[in-house]
């Protein structure tokens, strides 16, 4: 089933960014898709509209409310217990980053792209870099591709750990949350050892901050994360308190999830095995993890299994190149970029990456080395829409488990 996940203005024509299974492409407009109206409303309010009636009121949550770390506003329409409908205001964190990129040189854009959503910075920068490389016809050395895979997998680990830590905190599992917090901090430190910044940023494409010879040490630390998380996760599944809060909470209907553009672990926990990584030739033995239940527990379990996989993938990829290879590849990539950027090519490029919460797609129209226009499709927009659909019918105490299990970010959705 193909779904529109974004729009792009390529010089003087409009095009759609379309995802069909694990492949993403650009197409001429014309296809009907339920996501079209969601994308059109993403700078304002999405959700399932207000509800009125006797005793129904708008319970506004945010922008600075205990429980929501990020600034965003959610309107819950309720008569006091059951949630009847939800509207999510994504405008507060809108920073017009795509418009800010227009007119910039390609090498000036890294910080802006990484800063779109700091916790998905690796996925955003890699997708952006792939779009630029596609537009400028740049061949990326295999060692750089492997380095990027490792960076995105490490980003996946700390994002998934964060989600599970938040779920454990919401369920008052303080001991589990504290230990997950320790692992979360350790993984952020590993990302710093790999790229020079906590929260993998523009270094993924610039390759400037790579800590040389760190591969073996990083692999050893990742093995430690894997071992500890295995024990913690096994133990956590023996707590009925924890499991009861997640089982049956905010169930997503698989058909509506696909139609409404949901991707990532939230989609895979509905039994739909769509993952962009399955198309990557450098990850030939990759196995897509799915669950059938589609509730908050399934989403947590999918993320937990992806942590195991991400540790193994990152360790494997880091073991397949040396820092010397990477330095040489960096020179080759930089040379191609300079040559092709000065070649006067006027082309559009599409780049995608499987972020911790789903598909990120960047579409960039290049005029030589200048960005003419840029557009991005972020997974959190569709994740918030899926949350709004899934939480209806649940009660208020389910809200933290519901929203955290989707792993969505207002910064990512706000762009």
């Amino acid at each position: 089933m193909s779904v529109i996940i974004g729009f792009h203005k390529d010089f003087d024509r409009e095009i759609d960014i379309v995802q069909d299974g694990a492949s993403v492409s650009i197409q001429e407009p014309g296809q009907t898709s339920e996501t079209r109206s969601i994308i059109e409303r993403r700078d304002r309010v999405i959700g399932n509209g207000p509800t009125t009636g006797a005793g129904v009121f708008d319970f506004r949550y945010g922008p600075f409310t205990g429980g929501f770390p990020e600034a965003g506003i959610v309107h819950y329409y309720t008569y006091g217990e059951r949630i009847l409908s939800v509207e999510i205001d994504l405008s507060k964190k809108h920073r017009a980053i795509e418009a800010s990129l227009a007119g910039r040189r390609v090498n000036e854009a890294g910080a802006l792209v990484a800063g779109l959503c700091g916790n998905f910075a690796a996925a955003h920068t890699v997708a952006y870099a792939r779009a630029v490389e596609s537009a400028l016809n740049i061949g990326v050395p295999e060692v750089v591709q492997r380095y990027r895979i490792a960076a995105i997998e490490i980003e996946r680990i700390y994002n998934h750990l964060y989600v599970i830590m938040r779920l454990a905190t919401a369920a008052a599992q303080k001991v589990l949350a504290a230990h997950l917090g320790a692992l979360f901090e350790e993984t952020l430190r590993i990302s710093e050892a790999l790229t020079g910044t906590r929260g993998i940023g523009p270094a993924v494409i610039a390759l400037d901050e790579t800590t040389q010879s760190a591969g073996t040490e990083i692999a050893k630390r990742l093995e430690g994360v894997l071992r500890t998380f295995e024990k913690l996760h096994r133990r956590s599944l023996s707590s009925r308190n924890y499991l009861d809060r997640l089982h049956g909470t905010s169930i997503v209907r698989a058909e509506s999830a696909l139609e409404r553009g949901l991707t990532g672990p939230s989609l895979r926990s509905c039994g739909i095995g769509v993952d962009l990584r399955s198309e990557d030739p450098l990850m030939s033995d990759f196995r897509v993890r799915t669950k059938a239940e589609a509730d908050a527990f399934a989403r947590m379990e999918t993320r937990a299994e992806e942590i195991f996989d991400a540790c193994r993938i990152a360790i494997d990829q880091l073991g397949r190149f040396s820092s010397e290879n990477l330095t040489t590849a960096k020179g080759s990539l930089a040379g191609q970029l300079v040559r092709n950027a000065n070649g006067g090519l006027r082309r559009v490029g599409l780049g995608v990456a499987e972020s911790p919460s789903g598909t990120i797609a960047w579409c960039v129209s290049m005029d030589g080395g200048n960005i003419e226009s840029a557009s991005v499709s972020t997974p959190s927009v569709f994740g918030f829409q899926a949350y709004a659909d899934a939480v209806v019918g649940n009660i208020f105490t389910d809200v933290p488990f519901a929203i955290e299990s989707f792993g969505v970010s207002f910064a990512d959705a706000g762009r």
Partner: protein, 181 residues
């Protein structure tokens, strides 16, 4: 795995480190030396700072040993941590939150990469002074107890908090130590 609470104790995850800040900060006064409550306000950050704040609650830092706790409401807070760069759409909400904090309180500004707030006026970073520009428009500079530009990690934020709380334990403390705001 051993019995769950024992597992926590024997891991010895808390790190013994000397936390020193390189940025000037102002103390709030002696009454906060044993207990200081924080409320985090995301005024427009890219969410990585929220992750770093979450990491600050990890056992490696164990902020509770210094009496540093996170509050769920500004009404219980002694320090408001303002994560920036602030966006104009959130200015009113930030002002309303500041108005809820009990006096005396301080504001620690964190973050502020100027290019990440395209619709804001250009912001110049001047070391040693609170961030001018959009931050200045947002809050009274007299409330500011410190400014950590860029994307500081939890150890940087923790060092600044300790210096604000326990000024005489930090070399970086400014001469205005002890002044109440």
């Amino acid at each position: 795995m051993v019995f769950w609470p024992y597992h926590g104790v024997i891991q010895r995850l808390t790190e013994k480190s000397v936390y020193r800040t390189s940025v000037p900060v102002r103390t709030l006064g002696r009454q906060f030396r044993r207990s200081m409550h924080l409320f985090v306000v995301d005024a427009g950050c890219d969410n990585m700072l929220n992750f770093n704040i979450a990491a600050l609650t990890a056992p490696q830092y164990n902020t509770h040993r210094f009496g540093i706790y996170f509050a769920d409401t500004p009404r219980h807070a002694d320090i408001l941590i303002l994560l920036g760069p602030p966006l104009s759409a959130l200015h009113d909400a930030v002002a309303a939150t500041l108005a809820q904090a009990p006096k005396p309180f301080g504001v620690l500004l964190v973050g502020g990469a100027p290019e990440m707030a395209p619709q804001q006026e250009p912001v110049e970073s001047t070391s040693g002074t609170p961030q001018p520009g959009s931050f200045r428009e947002l809050i009274d500079p007299a409330l500011v107890v410190g400014f950590l530009p860029g994307s500081p990690g939890p150890s940087d934020i923790f060092a600044a908090l300790l210096a604000i709380q326990r000024g005489d334990d930090s070399r970086a403390i400014s001469k205005s130590r002890g002044a109440l705001i």
